[in-house]
Amino acid sequence: MKTNCSQKQLLNRIDQVSFAVNDMILYLDTHPCDEKALTYCRELVQERKKLLKEYADAYGPLIIDITDQTEESIWKWMEQPFPWEKEGVCR
């Protein structure tokens, strides 16, 4: 498996949306009644779910909840390169 441009772009988008979710969690912990923030967070979570599914279908799962969505005969979870592997691809 090679890391191509669209894979990097998709992962980059997942990073951005996921970080936005992380930040919104902190904000909502201290502002639980902010309706605008609640709506924004809901949209982000939906977007994240969609992107994670899209990524799993194309390149393999990033989170365990997606692994059983793909009907594969091999354990795809372990095939994914770890983020610390050089350039995110196999050597």
């Binding site: 498996m1 996921s18 989170i63 095939e79 390169p81 770890f82 196999c90 050597r91």
Partner: protein, 209 residues
């Protein structure tokens, strides 16, 4: 990257506070064979493994250990809430209470604070995996010691039995990972070189490496 799930790996509902048992069980939080050391050990060691099977195993067991330290600290918390001053004083919990009230803090049963010297990350996959096998057995022995004390209190013994069983499973999986690494080395001399240093990572994308 991690995300939190707002649940325990195994349910814990302790109704009767018990300061003495809390002090025993907190050793599996911050003690020499506790879950903090286990998690940090595996999550630190996972980077230099020569195949992805072993990196994945250390990653996933290191992650599971985080849920175990959450379980152990939940047990300690539930055993120390609603304590009377009388019980704190007569149970021997006094010294801990003076420094931490009933907050959860990583120390051994004997009061020794958590210390990274309780585990090693040697940069040698075989060395590290032998340490991991030993660590799982040491933790299993500690849970056995705890079970002898709490065997008649099911609300404490049940989650401890669960944790003990996981040590056994982890031991089995680490043995399989060690075998996978040894099979890829020179069978006549596993120690001819350090696979985590002398050999570049050869994690494979196809198949079970």
């Amino acid at each position: 990257m991690w995300n939190y799930e707002k649940r325990l790996q195994y349910p814990i509902n302790i109704t009767q506070p018990n300061a003495k048992i809390a002090q025993y069980i907190m050793s599996q939080y911050g003690g020499p064979d506790g879950e903090i050391g286990a998690s940090l050990r595996y999550l630190s060691q996972r980077f230099i493994m020569p195949n992805r099977t072993t990196s994945a195993l250390l990653n996933d067991i290191g992650t599971e250990e985080l849920s175990h330290l959450e379980m152990v600290s939940t047990i300690v918390h539930q055993l120390t809430r609603d304590l009377s001053m009388e019980e704190i004083e007569k149970s021997g919990f006094g010294p801990y209470y003076i420094d931490h009230t009933v907050g959860v803090w990583p120390q051994a049963a004997g009061g020794v604070p958590f210390n990274a010297c309780e585990f090693q990350s040697k940069g040698d996959p075989i060395t590290d995996l032998f340490e991991d096998l030993a660590a799982e057995q040491k933790a299993r022995s500690t849970y056995d010691n705890i079970l002898r004390v709490v065997r008649d209190i099911p609300e404490i013994a049940d989650p401890i039995k669960f944790l003990r069983a996981r040590e056994v499973v982890h031991f089995q999986r680490f043995g399989e990972a060690l075998r996978s690494i040894q099979e890829e080395l020179d069978a006549k001399n596993f120690y001819a070189f350090t696979p985590g240093f002398d050999n570049p990572c050869t994690a494979s994308c196809n198949g079970n490496k």
